[in-house]
């Protein structure tokens, strides 16, 4: 029971740690995908280096049909217009980013509605804007006030207009809260004189595997068009590097944890084996062959480990499920730090099946290695010495 308990606690501990680690990675990726790049982006080949509206393009006709047929039911495309502007209230002017969106697609993509703190988001069909609550505060704007926008449109055209503020968006990610101006993509096209052009198209897919399939399939159709389709890893190389670095440091921590866990389990197995030396000696003195005894020890230890692993997984699952739906809120400086990195101030947990599978397998491998001790002991202990214990 002690050994099974030791394995069980080890599994729960390892699961929790891996779930937190993976959860924060998933959150970073998810935020990037949902509020930034999407899984894929169709861009002009020059746009990635120079994100200017001059490299906007019209994706319509035959190419749009091919895109839709490639996407099927597993993915969808969202046209976007994004450009830097100066935004002014009555007294102040601030730099901001105009994002032209289609409200229902935006909500489908990132659940945008839940971040709308004031106003009716569907009213964005009308002429008007939603702005980040941080930006509103900086410009001392209220709903129904007028926002003035001045920027540069397509090929040097002036982009200037006045818009009523229809509502606010309060988002934990500071760059959204402090900089974003949302308007309908058609309105943004008019503002920047883009006509049917869009700065880029985002593609959201069911998962990364589907996204990669879409990229592989659709890039064939882009040959000779001057357009390209980029995966989020190509769009966010810094994030990929940061995740790789974090994974490496996470692995170091995991290895330290596994060493601690392994010694914990080994301690219980060692005690169990030494306590049973007399029993082993009796069995061999009565006629049990040592390899049979070793096999018995092996099977026993593995069964105990299996028991511990399965109970650990059974206990770990509801714990992780609880924290998955109720992530731990971060407070104080840590919260600010996380927000600076564009993440929500929560310690998220992952429920990826791979965590349960991997931790279960790792624990069984550890147990298997530790099993070597009682097996070795079965072959080497001295009968007479242990009979006298």
């Amino acid at each position: 029971m002690i050994t099974a308990g030791s394995v069980m606690f080890a599994v729960v501990l390892a699961l929790t740690m891996e779930s937190m680690n993976k959860g924060s990675h998933e959150q970073m990726i998810s935020n990037t995908l949902r509020f930034g790049t999407g899984y894929l982006q169709i861009q002009d080949t020059a746009y990635y280096e120079t994100p200017s509206l001059d490299f906007s393009f019209d994706l319509s006709g035959d190419l749009l049909q091919k895109l839709n047929s490639t996407l099927g039911n597993h993915a969808y495309a969202i046209p976007r217009i994004e450009s830097f502007v100066l935004a002014a209230g009555e007294l102040d002017t601030r730099g901001a980013i105009v994002t032209g969106i289609i409200p229902e697609l935006e909500d489908r993509m990132n659940g945008f509605l839940k971040f709308v703190s004031q106003g009716n988001f569907t009213s964005l069909e009308e002429k008007g804007v939603f702005i980040g609550s941080g930006l509103a505060k900086r410009l001392t704007l209220n709903v129904k006030d007028t926002l003035v926008i001045i920027g540069q449109g397509f090929q040097g055209m002036q982009a200037a207009a006045k818009y009523p503020v229809l509502g606010f968006v309060s988002h934990p990610m500071e760059f959204i809260d402090n900089q974003m101006i949302y308007m309908h993509v058609k309105e943004a096209a008019w503002l920047f004189s883009l006509d049917q052009n869009r700065s880029h198209w985002l593609i959201m897919a069911e998962n990364d595997k589907k996204a990669k399939e879409v990229k592989r399939e659709f890039e064939k159709h882009l040959v000779g068009t001057g357009l390209t389709i980029l995966h989020w890893e190509e769009l966010q190389p810094d994030l990929v590097k940061a995740l790789a670095f974090d994974s490496a440091s996470g692995w170091v921590m995991q290895i330290i944890l596994y060493v601690v866990i392994a010694f914990g389990i080994f301690g219980t197995i060692l005690t169990m084996t030494l306590e049973r030396q007399k029993e082993f000696a009796i069995l061999v003195s009565l006629g049990m062959k040592r390899h049979i005894l070793a096999l018995q020890c092996f099977v026993e230890t593995i069964m105990i480990s299996f028991l511990g692993v399965f109970i650990g997984l059974g206990i770990g699952f509801p714990i992780l499920l609880y924290f998955y739906f109720n992530p731990i809120p971060l407070r104080g400086g840590l919260s600010d730090l996380v927000k600076e990195y564009g993440m929500e101030p929560f310690l998220p947990f992952s429920m990826s099946p791979s965590i349960f599978l991997m931790q279960g397998i790792i624990m069984l491998i550890l147990s298997l290695i530790i099993t070597a001790y009682p097996v070795w002991r079965s072959f080497t202990f001295q009968i007479l010495k242990n009979l006298r214990r």
């Binding site: 009796i282 003195s285 009565l286 006629g287 049990m288 062959k289 009979l387």
Partner: protein, 229 residues
């Protein structure tokens, strides 16, 4: 025709530094169906001799021949096999497996011999009845008195019908009544099933029942007395 022979048997500890002779030039023959006690003061080599005959210990010099085979030349698994099929051990401290019931303890050797389950159960119950423990089949050692535990140990040793029973001070921890009961059981089996019994003992009651008394002093043979009739 002797079935167990010790030839120039030596067991020496610390041979390279200060040698201690546990057994010294011991030459003994044991016949089929003997009821023999090995006596002598503490440290005279009684237990060491039994361990040598049972293949639990190896001689420093000399040999132990059982049915003409020198058991010290056998491989480890062959020695274990030899013990499993030919020898029944009764230890002074019983050495029962604490997590097993009396019935399971007695069945253990027969299970290791891969006998039929039905046969194992019937034989184990029969032997436990023989030693007067019919009502303790499902008791664990911790639920039994010292005398009862020793009777389970004897039942375990006898259940597989070994050729030889080696008993190391089997009555040492028993009261007078339990000791006599145990001796009665072993004497009956010796007579009925022709098992060869070799005891090490200090117990005068055992010595009186034995037909042969081998006395060891400082590891050497001091006296080998065979009683008439």
């Amino acid at each position: 025709m002797p079935i167990i022979q010790t030839k120039k048997l030596y067991k020496i500890y610390n041979e390279d530094t200060i040698p201690v002779y546990a057994l010294k030039d011991l030459n003994l023959d044991f016949e089929v169906g003997e009821f023999t006690t090995i006596v002598g003061p503490s440290g005279s080599g009684k237990t060491t001799l039994l361990n040598m005959i049972g293949g639990l210990d190896v001689p420093t010099r000399g040999s132990v021949l059982v049915d003409g085979t020198d058991i010290s030349t056998l491989k480890k698994n062959q020695v274990i096999n030899f013990r499993l099929h030919h020898i029944g051990f009764v230890f002074q401290s019983y050495n029962l497996i604490p997590v097993l019931t009396a019935l399971e303890n007695v069945s253990l050797i027969m299970e290791l011999q891969n006998r039929e389950k039905k046969e194992i159960r019937e034989r184990a119950i029969h032997v436990l009845e023989e030693v007067g423990l019919a009502d303790k089949l499902n008791s664990r050692p911790s639920e039994l008195s010292g005398g009862q535990q020793q009777r389970v140990a004897v039942a375990r040793a006898l259940a597989s019908r070994p050729k030889y029973v080696l008993a190391d001070e089997p009555t040492a921890n028993l009261d007078s009544k339990s000791a006599m009961n145990l001796l009665d059981i072993m004497a009956r089996l010796n007579k009925d099933e022709s098992m060869t019994f070799i005891f090490s003992t200090h117990d005068q009651r055992v010595i009186e029942r034995a037909r042969r008394v081998v006395t060891l002093v400082d590891g050497a043979l001091y006296e080998d007395l065979k009683k008439e009739g």
